[in-house]
C-alpha cells in the first residue's frame, strides 16, 4: 500500500458539517444544494400549506375573509409566505439553469459560474421585491 493511500481515506463522503465548514463549496455547488433544499421544503410542508390556504379561501366567503383579512396579516404567516416565495423562485431559476445546462448551454466553467451567481442574485432580489409588496 502506498503512503498516499494510507494518508487519505477514500472515498470521502461529504456530510453536512463537511459541506458547511471543511470544504469551500463553489457557487454552482451552492445553487445545486439550495435547489435540493428548496425542493424539499416545497414538497413538505409548503405545498400542503398552500393547498390548505387555497382550500380555505375557495371554500366560502367566510373562509376567504379569514385568510385574506386575518391569517395573511399575521407576521409569522407573512414570514412563511416569504420563505415559500424564495424557495419557489430559487427552485424556478436554478431549474431553468439546469434545463439550459442539459441543452449544453453555458456548460463552460466561466459562464456556468456566472449563471450560478445570477440565479442566487435574481431569486433573492425578486424575493425581496415580493416581500416588500406583501408586508
Amino acid at each position: 500500500m502506498s503512503s498516499a493511500a494510507a494518508k487519505k481515506a477514500r472515498p470521502k463522503y461529504l456530510n453536512l458539517p463537511a459541506i458547511l465548514f471543511e470544504i469551500r463549496l463553489p457557487v454552482p455547488g451552492w445553487v445545486s444544494i439550495l435547489h435540493r433544499v428548496s425542493g424539499a421544503l416545497l414538497f413538505f410542508p409548503l405545498a400542503a400549506w398552500l393547498l390548505y390556504l387555497l382550500d380555505t379561501s375557495l371554500a366560502s366567503e367566510q373562509g376567504f375573509a379569514r385568510v385574506k383579512d386575518h391569517y395573511l396579516q399575521l407576521p409569522v404567516v407573512k414570514l412563511g409566505l416569504i420563505v415559500f416565495i424564495w424557495a419557489y423562485l430559487h427552485h424556478f431559476c436554478a431549474g431553468i439553469r439546469f434545463l439550459l445546462l442539459d441543452l449544453n448551454k453555458g456548460v463552460e466553467l466561466a459562464p456556468a459560474r456566472r449563471s450560478a451567481v445570477a440565479v442566487l442574485i435574481v431569486s433573492v432580489a425578486l424575493t425581496l421585491f415580493f416581500a416588500w409588496r406583501i408586508w
Partner: protein, 116 residues
Amino acid sequence: MVTPRRIVVGAHYGMGSWLAQRITAVIMALYSVILLVVLIGRRPADYGQWKALFSNGWMRVATLLFAASLAWHAWVGVRDIVMDYVKPDGLRLAMEVLTILLLAGYVLWAAQILWR
C-alpha cells in the same frame, strides 16, 4: 429456467424519470408564469372574483395538470434525495411510501378543491 430480465443498471436506466422530471418542470414553469400574469392582470380582490378565477374550465384543467406534474416531478426529486441520504433499506422504503401517499393526497385534495 432462465428468463429474460429487464436491464435495470447502466447508462439508460433512469432516462424515463430524468425526462419526466424535465417535462413536468416546463409545464409547471409555464403554469406559474401564466398564473402570475392572470393574477396581476385581474387582481382578484373579493371572494366572487377569486372563486370565478378557479371555476373557469381551463383554469381547473391547467391547475390539475400542474398538481399532477408537481406530484410526478417531486416523486423523482424526493426519491433522489432519499436514495442519496437514507441508507437503511427499511427506513428508505418507508419514506418512499410516505412520499407517494402524500403526493397522491395532494393531487386528490387539489381535485377536490377545484371541483367542489
